[in-house]
């Protein structure tokens, strides 16, 4: 199994190439960010086939609306992950998706529930395990909800039963913690 060599560019180079609509920019974009984006998408949309569709829609949208991206306003990934998260949330809130879930076979539901309960060992989440240790449980839950479940902070406050102000503080503390961890 010969692993394909992944293309990697600096963010500035990549942005320039994308603006010039170069073919290599698409490949580089995919190689550099598909796994990070798919990590977010696949936690919101648990069904693999649909999550893959959302990833494709995400790249199509990034490619088509790239002129809307302004490097002065923020990093490329921040812009892209918001597109991915919004598409994923749109998908799970769509009528089709809800109907599809209603009609799921019992067999499928067993694995679906298992996935939801995290009783199955998922090697892809191995890295998170270490990281989670750096976050306190209440910080972790808010980051999980907002970053990986696509909740707004208002919805998260409702879900966790804490005031909006507390949610904002906790979210800030959690991200401070992550900053410390990554630097």
């Amino acid at each position: 199994m010969s692993k394909r060599r992944k293309i990697s560019l600096s963010e500035e180079e990549l942005v320039l190439a994308l603006k010039n609509r170069e073919k290599i920019a698409i490949e580089a974009l995919y190689d550099m960010y598909s796994s990070s984006l798919y990590g977010v998408i696949s936690r919101i949309v648990t069904e693999t086939a649909i999550a893959e569709d959302v990833l494709q829609e995400t790249f199509v949208k990034i490619w088509h609306s790239f002129s809307a991206y302004n490097a002065d306003k923020g990093r490329l990934f921040t812009w892209m992950v918001n597109i991915a998260r919004n598409l994923a949330i749109d998908k799970i809130r769509s009528k089709d998706y809800k109907n599809q879930n209603k009609n799921q076979e019992l067999e499928n539901n067993v694995t679906f529930i298992d996935e939801q309960r995290n009783t199955v060992y998922n090697p892809e989440l191995l890295g998170v395990k270490d990281l989670v240790e750096t976050l306190k449980p209440d910080q972790k839950s808010i980051v999980e909800l907002v970053y990986f479940k696509g909740y707004t902070h208002v919805e998260a406050a409702d879900e966790l039963g804490v005031p909006l102000g507390t949610i904002k503080t906790r979210l800030r503390m959690a991200i401070m913690q992550l900053r410390k961890h990554f630097n």
Binding site: R21, V60, R75, T78, R85, K168
Partner: protein, 273 residues
Amino acid sequence: MEDIKAYIESGILELYVLGDVSPAEKLQVEEMAAKHPAVKAELDEIERSMEAYAKENAVEPAEHLRDRILNSLVTNLADDATFDKAPQSSAAKIVAMAPQKTNNFYKYAFAACLALLLASVAALISTYNKLQDSNTQIASLQSSNSQFAKTVSLKNGELEVYQDASFKFIKLQGMPKDPHAQMTVAWSPARKKVWIDLHSLNMPANDNAHQYQLWALVGKNPVSLGVFDKTADTSGMKEMQPTAYADAFAVTLEPHGGSKTPTMDQMMVIGKF
């Protein structure tokens, strides 16, 4: 600078990076970042850490997905190269036309329905009128038919008088009151039938207060055989009351409805066997 610090600590920058702000808040954050390098630096830090966090949580998509997605983008790339930006605007025009089309369809459908309705109503009205005409015709035909039937049965009766050999015809002659008066009576003693011929009747028309009365004289006794009228258009024959015996027939002018005994001085005609 205190304001900036409080702004940073409010948590709005984190929400901005997570895409969880209103459009107004978004503009405000972007304005603040452009104005204050400290805000911009903080934003950058948050973005980098979230990006690193996402990388930690990365899930490698299936290998086959790469070709599928890249191909779909390259197809789009080719389209973009071929048509530049024109296809988008023309596509937008087509979208705008579509609802117009459906609107027109319903307009035409409605107009067609209306026209059909009017045509049906017109057809219905004319059919109804024809039906009314037919009904009137049937009614008049029926009444004339029954008139015919009546006439035919009457004529049959009259014809019988001439065909039946038992009938005797007696000419009644005028009396001194009106010497020119004349009348014909047909009598069948066997069948006891008495008819008078109104057509050949030659007597003045009676007024409303009087009627002519026919008598059969049996021996010396007069027997009433009923009354009749003479008007300008009297025609045909009239059947009178039956009698088996008669020596003579006579007609007198009597008050309306007839009398029990004949008024002898009002005798018009008489005829004997």
